[in-house]
């Protein structure tokens, strides 16, 4: 066991050395499962069918499915020398919801829990509506962390705000503290929680625990093996970029940009800057749209479509 752990650690270091970009390239180049082949656990010979984040069925070795999970104590620290950032290009989003679905599969979430939510926003009557994917903003001044009475939610050195579900007492103060409605509560024990047989780790936010709060975690378990979060690799439009502020790079898996340049040239901004929470998620304004807004209503489940029926846009166009 010990040996295996140190192996894991070594391999983790290797991955980190290779850097985020290499990992992202692997992830982009034909499925996220490639990186698993470097898993030191080796092949077990047992094959299982899995669905990739693109929704394709693949047959892979069972051992490849496991992501190494760090201990609860280690997950409090953060990945050394990193400061993560996300950039979301609103001009490209067409509400395909692949990010939501991949995230739910990756974190073993029930349909009623979404770490990533897609809103249909319209800032004022005359301005144009747009689709607005919203993860956790991993704020640098996080009110949710300030108000937690037991330190169950914490800010790491790499900027990630995580939740330790073992510690969480479920008072929900963080949910009222967050002005972005980011956090979700497990109102009961969902069967999806049982799908995950691995030991719990805050970095995986899984398996979920009844009566506690959870939220988007920036997928540190994927980052540790050199990959990008589920939502980033799943998006067919490359809407979501992920990267490191200090390295000044962000990638959506196919394109890589210098973060500072991207923000400068495309007028990147943070949502509700006025609240002073200092988010680590930036938005690029919805200009040069690749799709008309109503494309986002295509191929939606009735229940998902109904979410938007009360928006001014849907009412106006009788969608």
């Amino acid at each position: 066991m010990e040996e295996e752990q140190s192996n894991n650690k070594n391999s983790r270091r290797q991955f980190l050395k290779k850097g985020l970009l290499a990992g992202a390239a692997v992830a982009a180049g034909g499925g996220m499962l490639n990186a698993y082949s470097e898993n030191p656990a080796g092949e077990s010979g047992e094959k299982v069918k899995v669905m990739t984040t693109n929704g394709e069925i693949m047959e892979v070795d069972k051992a490849m499915l496991k992501l190494p999970r760090v201990s609860v104590a280690e997950s409090h620290l953060g990945i050394p020398g990193k400061k993560f950032v996300m950039v979301i290009d609103l001009g490209k989003c067409k509400n395909a919801r692949k990010c939501v679905e991949a995230c739910q599969r990756g974190h073993h979430l029930p349909k009623s829990q979404e770490f990533m939510k897609v809103y249909l926003l319209q800032d004022s009557e005359k301005t144009s509506p747009y689709w607005f994917p919203k993860p956790c903003f991993h704020c640098d001044n996080p009110l949710c962390v300030s108000v937690c009475p037991v330190g169950a939610t914490f800010k790491r050195t790499d900027g990630i705000v995580l939740i330790d579900n073992n510690r969480c007492i479920g008072c929900k103060f963080c949910m009222t503290g967050c002005p972005y409605s980011t956090r979700v509560f497990a109102w009961k024990h969902y069967p999806e929680f049982d799908e995950d047989k691995e030991p719990y780790s805050p970095e995986a936010s899984s398996p979920g625990k009844e009566g506690t709060v959870s939220k988007c975690d920036f997928c540190p378990d994927l980052i540790r093996v050199g990959k990008v979060p589920y939502c980033v690799s799943a998006c067919p439009m490359g809407v979501i970029y992920f990267g490191d502020v200090d390295e000044d790079t962000v990638t959506n898996g196919t394109e890589t940009y210098q973060f500072s340049e991207l923000i400068r040239d495309r007028a990147g901004y943070r949502y509700l800057e006025v609240l002073g929470t200092r988010p680590c998620v930036y938005y690029l304004p919805p200009v040069d749209r690749q799709f008309p807004v109503d494309r986002g209503f295509n191929d939606l489940d009735e229940s998902i479509k109904n979410r938007y029926i009360n928006t001014p846009y849907a009412k106006k166009h009788k969608l």
Binding site: S112, K117, Y119, L120, L121, K134, L143, S146, V147, C148, P149, V150, G151, A152, R167, C168, I169, G170, C171, K172, F173, M175, T176, G177, P179, Y180, S181, R183, V184, F185, A186, W187, K188, H189, E210, G211, T212, V213, L272, L275, T277, S303, I304, K305, N306, R307, Y308, N310, T311
Partner: protein, 437 residues
């Protein structure tokens, strides 16, 4: 024991010695309601919080409303009894014990409601084990436990002399264990000059402290809301506003309690119209303050009309129209009229007004908690009705009823244990006719 104390005790003896058939029916009824609450609680624990109406947007429902309400009533009891004691208000004797009981009983029930909001009661000890002083919930834990401790001491000091009276009153027909209990609890108080002096000093200190603690604790409770960024909560006025609303609700609960015990224990001779008017006037003054704070808070939100404040106020005047009118118009104006106009100032009217005030203040807390959670910065976009609009379930209502029933039950038991009207020192000077103009 002085003679007049003996006469009083003799008069109150029947209510302590015997419980009539009506009394037992009443207690059984209360136990049944509490039983329903226990059943609801078991449902919530076994099936999860999904059985409540709370969801990801409205994460706190009527549990937290009840929590604020009961805590408010409690602090009010402390403030009123503390102030009456410190200022040696002449008419206080017949009603001050009720105020003290209100304080301690609602203080025992209130925190229970916040526990009902907590998803993992099995990890409750983490609040101490891993407590973080930065969190307003930790402030609340410290403040409330201090308050419970302080109020218990204050109440004990306040009833000590009557415990000694009960011990010395030999004609009292009670089982042996109860007489023994009085003996132990009276701590050997015999009313020597030295004892009197010490008791007086200790009570004065505790009365002062209880007033201070009550203000601090209720402000801390208000800060749980106002430290967040939520529209409608992020307000500097919330601390004092909550304190005023608390005392206001407490004065109304005191009037209702007075009416109830006057009726049941036939205390017409001791609790007179003068007492109702006196507490009614306190209620009137607080109504005016409460109205002022409410107006101030909503006026500034409405006038400046920040987008989210505007949405909130729209919501209050649309979906929550009647609760808003009852709590913030009728709940303010009714006491001003009924107590303010001499012709309307009857015991029945004042009591009915206090009932309206109690309902209004419960609704006031509802309107502070729920509409704000229903109008977050990012619009709620969800196709599930229960995720959009909060609607409390039978589980929450059963537990609310159980809390009220427990309040009544504990009050009934307390009144069986010690006279509900202070006996010690209740001399002629306490007769309200002479001191109240």
């Amino acid at each position: 024991m002085e003679n007049n104390e003996k006469t009083l005790l003799k008069e109150f003896a029947p209510q302590i010695e015997r419980t009539g058939i009506q009394g037992y029916v009443w207690i059984l009824f209360l136990l049944a309601v509490i039983g329903l609450g226990v059943y609801a609680f078991i449902q919530q624990v076994t099936k999860g919080h999904i059985v409540t109406g709370m969801r990801d947007n409205v994460v706190w429902g009527i549990y937290i409303v009840n929590f604020i309400f009961f805590m408010g009533v409690s602090y009010a009891g402390a403030l009123i009894s503390g102030t009456l004691h410190l200022f040696k208000t002449a008419w206080r004797k017949p009603v001050i014990r009720m105020a003290e009981f209100i304080t301690i009983i609602s203080l025992l029930i209130g925190p229970g409601y916040i526990l009902l909001c907590i998803g993992r009661l099995d990890k409750l000890h983490y609040l101490v084990l891993h407590g973080r002083i930065q969190s307003p919930i930790t402030w609340d834990v410290i403040a409330i436990s201090t308050d419970i401790f302080g109020c218990l001491i204050f109440l004990y000091l306040a009833i000590l002399r009557d415990l000694a009276n009960m011990r010395d009153f030999e004609e009292l027909q009670l089982p042996k264990w109860r007489k023994k209990l009085y003996k132990i609890l009276a701590l050997g108080y015999t009313g020597t000059e030295e004892q009197k002096k010490r008791l007086e000093r200790a009570t004065n200190i505790m009365a002062t402290m209880v007033i201070a603690i009550a203000i601090i604790v209720y402000s801390v409770l208000a800060w749980i809301f106002s430290v967040t960024l939520q529209p409608g909560w992020h307000s500097t006025i919330f601390g004092p506003y909550f304190v005023i609303a608390a005392v206001y609700s407490g004065s109304a609960v005191l009037i209702l309690t007075m009416w109830f015990f006057r009726k049941v224990y036939h205390l017409e001779e001791y609790i007179t119209k003068k007492h109702f008017v006196a507490v009614g006037v306190i209620m009137l003054v607080l109504a005016a303050f409460f109205g002022y704070f409410t107006f101030s808070d909503y006026l500034t939100k409405w006038y400046g009309s920040e987008k989210n404040d505007e949405l909130l106020i729209q919501l209050l005047f649309k979906e929550f129209y009647w609760p808003f009118i009852i709590s913030n118009y009728i709940g303010v104006l009714l006491p001003l009229l009924v107590v303010g106009i001499a012709r309307l100032r009857t015991i029945t009217n004042i009591t009915l007004t206090s009932v309206v005030v109690i309902i209004a203040l419960w609704l006031n807390r509802y309107l502070i908690v729920i509409p704000t959670l229903q109008s977050p910065y990012l619009p709620i976009q969800d196709s599930r009705v229960e995720w959009n609009i909060y609607s409390s379930t039978w589980v929450e209502w059963s537990l609310t009823a159980a809390g009220i029933a427990l309040f009544c039950l504990l009050f009934t038991i307390a009144s069986k244990f010690i006279p509900i009207v202070t006996v010690a020192g209740n001399t002629q000077e306490a007769k309200p006719e002479d001191v109240l103009v």
